[in-house]
């Protein structure tokens, strides 16, 4: 059983997270400020830590820094601050994920699972990798079997969706415009483009992203096109 340390000064939030995570079969250790969390971690190893930023005593950022000195466990920051700069700061100082309040409990559980898989099964994909496997972060595509995984969960895609995703993953980091995608996938010249490609992209995003509004893999470059973030 995997152990998760939840640290937040709001007792009700900790309790709620506890209920969700326990329901998913995790063991939860609760802490209510940074010092307590560090103390617990010294005595009891945890597999993942969820930490709030704004806490009395040691805040989430400094707690993360302290933990990173000794441990490499996944850390998810949970914060009421939703600014880009806050997220960038959190991720830069060593957190693996950043979730702003108020969050969806299901999203949190999904992200926890994702991080744990990445942490515990890191490198597993390499073993089963063949020539036809394309990877991008937690996203993996096996072109031989036409299978797609996100954080080891298999994903079902339509052939067009699969082809679009494959095109983007193969050229990770490159931005494709709607016309380019259309021409590549349908093998036809785009005459008076419509929203077909955009709709497909949206569908792909809904399938592979935990939160489609804040995509991790398939990103929209507004007014230019789409791309898979190189990771």
């Amino acid at each position: 059983m995997q152990t998760i340390l939840v640290c937040d000064d709001d007792k009700q939030i900790v309790d709620a997270i506890d209920i969700y995570l326990t329901g998913e079969g995790f063991q939860v250790i609760k802490a209510y400020d940074g010092y307590e969390a560090l103390e617990i971690l010294e005595n009891q190893p945890a597999d993942l830590m969820i930490v709030d930023v704004m806490m009395p005593g040691l805040d989430g950022i400094r707690t993360t820094l302290k933990v990173r000195e000794t441990s490499s466990i996944p850390i998810i920051i949970l914060s009421a601050k939703s600014e880009d700069t806050d997220k960038i700061l959190g991720l830069n100082i060593g957190a693996d994920d950043y979730l702003s309040k108020p969050f969806s409990p299901l999203e949190l559980v999904a992200r926890v699972k994702s991080q744990l898989r990445r942490y515990t099964q890191l490198g597993n994909m390499n073993q089963q990798a063949s020539d036809q496997v394309y990877k991008c972060g937690g996203l993996a595509i096996n072109d031989d079997t036409k299978e797609v995984w996100v954080d080891d969960d298999p994903i079902k895609l339509t052939p067009i969706e699969y082809n679009i995703l494959l095109l983007l993953v193969k050229n990770a980091g490159k931005v494709f415009s709607i016309d380019e995608i259309y021409e590549q996938i349908w093998n036809e010249e785009a005459i008076g483009a419509d929203n077909t490609v955009a709709v497909h992209i949206r569908h792909i995003r809904e399938k592979i992203e935990i939160n489609p509004r804040e995509p991790r893999y398939l990103k929209v470059v507004w007014g230019v096109g789409y791309k898979i973030e190189k990771q």
Binding site: Y20, M54, A80, K101, I178, D194, N195, V197, V220, G223
Partner: protein, 764 residues
């Protein structure tokens, strides 16, 4: 009262007394010098250390030489064998056709005596007869010859006729000259020795009073003068040569002697008791007295200046150690009035001096010195008045009241006071009027002076007027130039402040008057603007901070609410009502979440604290992307999205993420407020330089608010506010669009709702 308080007063009085004493000394010195030496010779006596070197001696020597030459020319006329010969013939006259009558000296003398003429003790011709008879003065004698005037040439017919009286007076006069030399130098011992000799082949003429003395001995006597016909050089030890000497020598050479010489010497031991001895003694005495006078004058002047200097230093201080000088009495009168009064007082004093002082002085001083004494008295009166009034002016100067207490200053101040409370235009008008008046009157006076050019005063006045007119013009120009320069500075400052540099402060150096006041006000405006701007920025930031903090504080409890509502839902409560309530709770908590997020965004967008990442993007592609995002959502409410997009791309410059937010809000609005089963039009058009995106839909509810109100915060299409939404969507969209440099319009036409955003096209 202590002595200390009086000590300065006493010192001052002593100084005044000393000044008076020294003044008296100086005046006395001047008087001694002036009265003794007389005007003219100046201080030359300082150089002439002995009488022989003095001008007086030269004058006497000259006079005597002249007399000697006369003696030389008359001796042979009057003398026979060394003594006066009364029978020698003097002149010959004829009366009418009558015979020639020759008069001897004796006859002439007798006739002269009968007419009242005689020689006085100085051998000058004198007369005791008051009335001459006509016979004596009748010019009826024709002169044939005159023994004493051999070289007389008659040039006019009338010259040959004269009266017997006139002739006898001539003879008497000549005799006088003869006697002068004969008695003073030959018959009596004299300090002046002379030796005149004409040498001829057969004859030798000698005129001398120094028979036994050789030329060398004569030279030894002291002052001498020797002239020889063989030499062009005059041998002398005198400072100044007697004039006419050579000419007179030549003139008296009656017999054309080949060689002649003159030797004149003065015995500087003054052994003989004659006029030279007398003058020498007097000269020495005078010299002593002049030295005394000079000494007195020097001491007097030095003393006067010293005491005056001391008085200047202490003038105005009441007692020793007074911190500042003080004024009293007539020092308090206006400066100009005082000067005028001082002038009147001086004239009055002069008048009194003339009327009373002169009379008193006449009692005390000899008449010969009256003129000098009168002048001296006037000078002293003027000096006294000037010094007294000068000290008053000095005290004013020390108290800085010379200008401050002048009538001009007061008048100027009053004029200034008058103008300070007038408008600038009024001042300008008055100033210009005065300027024109001054120019015109100056020009008129100038012309008047020029028309009277021949008067010396008019010339001076014309030049002065011309110069002052030029000066006034130049000063006016300079003032105007300076003023314009100052105005330029002010304009620069205003331009800077208007350009946004609100912290700019003008330099006040070199500004004056109205410009200075304006500059001060500009600086105050600048400071005020700067402060207002800072306050505004601060308050905006505070507001944004407040909203951010409040949002964060709301978010944490909201998290719990959302989580627990979700947890309750999982509990599978069977009660239908509870499930209904849970739905409401979930909806409202979600709405609260949206609201806080929108609020945060709206505050950021309107305060402009958002960071923009401007880039070139294709608006058409962007709309396609957005349509893709929303198509399925729209179909939920059976809304048909009708795109109206050009086939070519339109590149604009915007921040993609923020523009997406704008479009998202507009599409969401359409989704929320459009009538079900209707169509939503999304179009991109180009007009001029601008690309416009328009979204049109038919509202489900009547739009009873104006388009302007729609973009206000917390205003929603349905006044009842039953639908979800924060009421911030359009406000955020508008703020973000404007932030990116775009235009944002809402048009409401009945139930037709139209939103339009425009951006400048970079390229098509």
């Amino acid at each position: 009262m202590k002595f200390k308080d009086y000590s300065l007063l006493i010192k001052k009085n002593i100084a005044v007394l000393l000044h008076l004493i020294f003044l008296t000394l100086a005046v006395g010195g001047i008087s001694i010098i002036y009265l003794n030496i007389g005007a003219g010779s100046g201080l030359s006596w300082l150089r002439d250390r002995s009488y022989e070197d003095s001008p007086q001696f030269t004058a006497q020597f000259q006079k005597d030489l002249d007399n000697i030459f006369r003696y030389v020319s008359y001796r042979d006329v009057f003398e026979e064998d060394g003594s006066l010969d009364l029978s020698s013939q003097m002149f010959s006259i004829s009366r009418g056709d009558g015979p020639e009558i020759i008069y001897t000296l004796e006859e002439v003398l007798r006739y002269a005596r009968s007419q009242g003429f005689y020689l006085n003790s100085n051998f000058d011709v004198a007369s005791d007869l008051l009335v001459y008879d006509n016979a004596a003065t009748a010019k009826d004698c024709r002169i044939n010859w005159r023994a004493y005037m051999t070289d007389q040439q008659i040039t006019e017919p009338g010259d040959a006729y004269t009266s017997l009286l006139e002739l006898s007076r001539e003879v008497l006069n000549c005799l006088g000259f003869y006697y002068k030399v004969h008695y003073r130098m030959i018959a009596n011992p004299s300090n002046l020795y002379f030796r005149i000799q004409y040498d001829d082949e057969d004859e030798q003429l000698l005129y001398t009073n120094a028979e036994g003395l050789s030329l060398a001995q004569l030279r030894q006597l002291g002052a001498y003068c020797y002239m020889d016909s063989h030499s062009a050089v005059i041998d002398t030890n005198l400072l100044e040569l007697p004039s006419n000497m050579t000419a007179s020598m030549e003139k008296n050479n009656f017999y054309d002697a080949e060689h002649y010489y003159i030797m004149a010497a003065v015995d500087t031991s003054y052994a003989a008791d004659d006029i030279y001895a007398e003058n020498a003694a007097l000269y020495q005495q005078l010299r002593g007295r002049i030295l005394e006078g000079l000494l007195g004058l020097a001491i007097g002047i030095i003393g006067c200046l010293t005491s005056l200097y001391y008085l200047i230093l202490v003038s105005g201080y009441k007692h020793k150690g007074s911190p500042s000088p003080s004024l009293s009495g007539f020092d308090l009168v206006y400066t100009e009035c005082f000067v005028l009064l001082a002038g009147i007082f001086t004239m009055f004093a002069m008048f009194l001096g003339e009327k009373i002082g002169y009379r008193v002085m006449h009692l005390l001083v000899a008449e010969s010195s009256w003129e000098y004494a009168e002048r001296m008295m006037s000078a002293i009166i003027i000096y006294g008045c000037v010094v007294i009034s000068g000290f008053s002016l000095l005290r004013r100067y020390k108290c800085r009241q010379l200008w401050a207490n002048s009538l001009t200053f007061h008048i100027l101040q009053n004029i200034n006071l008058y103008f300070v409370h007038r408008s600038f235009s009024h001042r300008l008008f008055c100033g210009f009027f005065a300027f024109v008046l001054a120019q015109l009157s100056g020009a008129a006076l100038f012309l008047l002076s020029v028309s009277h050019w021949h008067l010396p005063l008019a010339k001076f006045a014309a030049l002065a007027l011309f110069a002052s007119l030029l000066a006034v013009d130049y000063l006016t120009f300079q003032k105007m130039f300076l003023s314009v320069r100052q105005e330029d500075k002010i304009a620069d400052a205003i331009a800077k402040i208007a350009g946004g540099d609100t912290s700019y402060q003008m330099e006040l150096d070199g500004l004056s008057g109205k410009e200075l006041a304006t500059a001060r006000m500009i600086n105050r405006i600048g400071t005020g603007l700067e402060r207002a701007l800072q306050e505004k920025v601060k308050s905006e930031r505070l507001k944004a901070d407040l909203i951010t903090n409040v949002s964060h504080d709301i978010k944490t409890p909201l998290t719990s609410i959302i989580n627990y509502v979700d947890l309750i839902k999982r509990e599978q409560v069977q009660n239908k009502k509870v499930q209904e309530y849970l739905v409401i709770l979930e909806q409202k908590s979600q709405r609260l979440k949206t609201l806080t997020e929108d609020l945060l965004e709206a505050s950021k967008a309107s305060s402009g604290t958002l960071k923009l990442e401007m880039m070139q993007l294709d608006l058409v592609e962007m709309i396609w992307q957005t349509n893709g995002e929303f198509e399925e959502k729209f179909s939920e409410r059976d809304l048909e999205l009708v795109p109206g997009l050009p086939s070519h791309s339109i590149i604009i410059e915007a921040d993609g993420r923020h523009l997406w937010r704008v479009l998202e809000n507009l599409y969401n609005n359409a989704f929320k407020y459009a009538m079900e089963h209707s169509r939503v039009f999304a179009e991109v058009t180009c007009e001029n330089e601008y690309a416009y995106f328009t979204i049109k839909n038919v509202s489900a509810h009547p739009l009873n608010i104006s388009s302007d109100d729609l973009t206000e915060r917390f205003v929603r299409g349905d006044v009842s506010r039953t639908t979800e939404g924060s009421g911030l969507g359009l406000s955020i969209a508008q703020s973000l669009t404007k932030l990116q440099g775009g235009t944002f319009e809402i048009l409401v036409d009945g139930d037709l709702y139209k939103a339009r955003i425009g951006f400048k096209i970079v390229k098509k």
